[in-house]
Symmetry: C2
Subunit: 237 residues, 2 copies
Amino acid sequence: AAQAFQSPSPPSLAQPQDFLAEAPPQARYEPADDSSSSEAAIAPDYPLGAAKAQLHKTYIVAETASGVCIVDQHAAHERLVMEQMKAQYEQGQIKSQALLLPEIVELPADQTEAVLAEADRLKSAGLEVEAFGAGAILVRSVPALLGQTDVKSLLSDLAEELVHLGGATALSDRTGYILATMSCHGSVRAGRRLNAEEMNALLRQMEVTPAAGQCNHGRPTFVTLSLADLEKLFGRS
Amino acid sequence: AAQAFQSPSPPSLAQPQDFLAEAPPQARYEPADDSSSSEAAIAPDYPLGAAKAQLHKTYIVAETASGVCIVDQHAAHERLVMEQMKAQYEQGQIKSQALLLPEIVELPADQTEAVLAEADRLKSAGLEVEAFGAGAILVRSVPALLGQTDVKSLLSDLAEELVHLGGATALSDRTGYILATMSCHGSVRAGRRLNAEEMNALLRQMEVTPAAGQCNHGRPTFVTLSLADLEKLFGRS
């Protein structure tokens, strides 16, 4: 008779920050081909490894030299956008992209007021807004980093955030919340299919971005399992 | 400042047997194409899901309706071969494949003796051996299930196993060990690259094989992570 199933002990999870700190990328990625001689070239040079699959259109699975890395694509990309925005903001101005046609967004009165009260700060953050009658806002430009974005949804989220923050929050925190909300809108969502090239581009960008191991909410953007962790899952320890 | 990294709580791992018992395969697999309409067809019908990637040429990662399944390819295949061998053995005779040229395997005297003492049982198991002078064995045929196999390595492992077992083991156990050792030689090894078709074939075969959730040594052949487990890994619980 087969032995009773032993629930394997859980793998230990590497802390993303440590992982990135210990093993910075050092060399060029050699694209894999089907010859076995290319095998050695895939992973060793990159801490986050070579993308192998996307799971549930949400997680990127990568093979690293020492094991496996699983990335939350939205959390990771959000962080990358956030860091780019912060860098531009600290240099004085977030790059703005004029809309081809200004967009009018209707909002509740308190939200309209909260957004217009921050118009200067929003302009520094790349978002140009102005009053448009009662309970509506005209949007002339958005941060260039956001790319194609749903302006109504962005304004709505920002307005809710600003009302929620009220007047009590420190200015620097307020700016941080604005940038975080905009980053979220500029990020690839969970549920979007990514091809291998897009996945690898994300991994490579994460490796050179400060704090890329944590999303804007402090959660990990990736977790790693070593080969030993994998063996433990299968009772081989 | 970013919050301190919280090591996520470990995912609970489903017990393979229960998993297979609860959700037998019920319908045909629809091959995936790139249109989004095919998305829904991939996983729901198959407990072990659709193969998405092979990691470290050892593990198959599959996407299931409810999460992710990771399969140890060698352990899983070994079990499949074992179950096929057992079924044939219980029907009286394991199918044998004559070698084009009989192979001579040299072994230490005690091992030669142990193998020849079991010649009848080995024949029932599809392996025909006979004495070939002192310290050598002639192999005429091997179990057909093993396919292309390294006869010297198989004989050497079997001989070691038989010497190790000695005369004290019950006959049924002895047969079990012989079949297990042969199954191991008929299985895809860790370290062999599998294409998507091969991976999916293995998953589909596991789903219809008794006890496919455990390898011949009682370890799990696959582990599953639910979507909730994955979210927990990323602190989203």
